[in-house]
Symmetry: C2
Subunit: 290 residues, 2 copies
């Protein structure tokens, strides 16, 4: 049970978590914090938060749980602002899609209180953003990856894990480096490809026809290119090294496929296509939408 | 109204067209033809076709409409086999995803009867194949592109267009070269990328984790990599030149994005991401599945 929850960044993720915990009867009082006062006013109107405080240091005072759900690029600034305001019983967690730099920033800001910080990443979202888009069921049956460090207080880790379970999520743990590699491959690389594909098609001579005749597969394939460009700048720069590594692997496969096509090499094409189909089916990825 | 419809290749596309025309009361008698007798027997059992004839030349005899819905690589062989069996009132059409080589093959095989051939491409499908997967609604609200030539008999063109409209499709016309370019961009290139992505991830060290943590965006993005490898070999080799041209454009955008990331160039990343999001939204692509 959380007595006083402080959500910094009451958008899709922060707002949905607040709603889910309220619905679960898992929280007494919710304080919202953020840069946009109109958004916070709306969040109070919608019943997502009980009150809002614009100053982060003020907002976290007395909170037993602080969730930093701002843009990734704002997270280090928030850590810096709240570092002196948290006390020995405050647990701090975040929701960033890349973990190494967030952890560095937390270590730097929190110093001796770093053990109270639990890095987290809910793998959930839509292309929409803002508190208006938030809903209590967003995390149902979705994974939340926590990436505790050697110093992380096990009690703090348990409290964050319990919070996400109450919000309906499946909680797993992973180390920071592993998380950033796996996410680079499964999420960040596909986003780079989808953005590059749409950008490339938009520049073609017949781009109007191109988009007009785009079929279902194309729509699904490029849906993620409708995500927030600012958010994806943050994520891709935060996880730069891991993404560049997977881009190297991708380039190698891509060149192999291109080479097969250039040389009319049906056997090699069939090998690549069949291997991919088999791998996808072995992984038994469900067909349903996220 | 079609008196005698001959469907060569009673799979997902051919079977669904037969079902749709039957449901619309648009056909008297349906003859199925194909290499697999068990599949044809099943098609009769399911009521998709009225009878089957294994020999293509026999099967088309007396038909007023012949739909060649075999694999793209088998299409020229079928044309060769039926060329002497069609008469002056028979209209022949196909469903291939790339048109230039099909048209070449038709011109070669049909000679003086080439004007009776109407090249067609229904932009519809699922990852499944075979008559068992066929259903009458497959073409509802989907586009069918016809790519008539200068020689094409306008009456034949009208009959094929009317047939697809009765099956629920929206029929449009395009020239062969334009079709192959647009499809290379919107369908063939995304398939190449999805196959390359899944192949690349399957080869990573942590490929198990990679697939386990794959979120919804990834599933949608790679859904098309579950399509038939053989069919995609056919399509990619048939439309090789147009695909290689779009691969060149894609490589240029991809390298630009990679360069932006390597150089921590937030402005350029934001420009690419924002441009792609805007282009996708300008095109107002519906969110629904195909």
């Amino acid at each position: 049970m959380i007595q006083r929850l402080c959500v910094i960044g009451v958008g899709l993720i922060g707002g949905s978590l607040a709603r889910a915990l309220r619905d679960a009867g898992a929280v007494d009082h919710i304080v919202g914090c953020g840069r946009s006062a109109p958004n916070l006013v709306r969040a109070v109107e919608l019943g997502v938060i009980d009150e809002y405080i614009v100053d982060p240091a003020e907002a976290v005072r007395g909170a037993d749980m602080v969730v930093v759900a701002t843009a990734l690029s704002a997270t280090p600034i928030i850590f810096e602002k709240i570092a002196t305001a948290i006390n020995a019983t405050t647990v701090v967690t975040d929701v960033g899609s890349a973990k190494a730099r967030v952890v560095e920033a937390a270590r730097r800001s929190f110093g001796d209180d770093f053990h109270q910080f639990v890095p987290g990443h809910p793998i959930a979202g839509t292309e929409k953003s803002g508190v208006e888009a938030s809903f209590a069921e967003l995390f149902q049956e979705h994974r939340v990856i926590l990436t505790p460090l050697a110093e992380t207080n096990p009690e703090a880790l348990n409290r964050v894990a319990a919070m996400w379970r109450l919000a309906g999520a499946n909680v797993t743990e992973m180390d920071v480096e592993q998380h950033d590699k796996v996410l680079a491959a499964t999420s960040h690389l596909p986003h780079m490809l989808a953005y590059a594909l749409v950008d490339c098609l938009a520049k073609m001579d017949q781009s109007e026809d191109v988009f007009r005749y785009a079929a279902g597969g194309f729509r699904d394939f490029t849906r993620i290119a409708s995500s927030s460009p600012e958010m994806w700048c943050d994520i891709s720069l935060d996880n730069r090294e891991a993404i560049l590594t997977v881009l190297d692997s991708f380039s190698a496969t891509y060149e192999r496929l291109r080479h097969a096509l250039e040389n009319d090499n049906r056997d090699l094409l069939l090998e690549i296509f069949s291997g991919a189909k088999a791998a996808r089916e072995r992984a038994a990825l469900p067909r349903s939408k996220s």
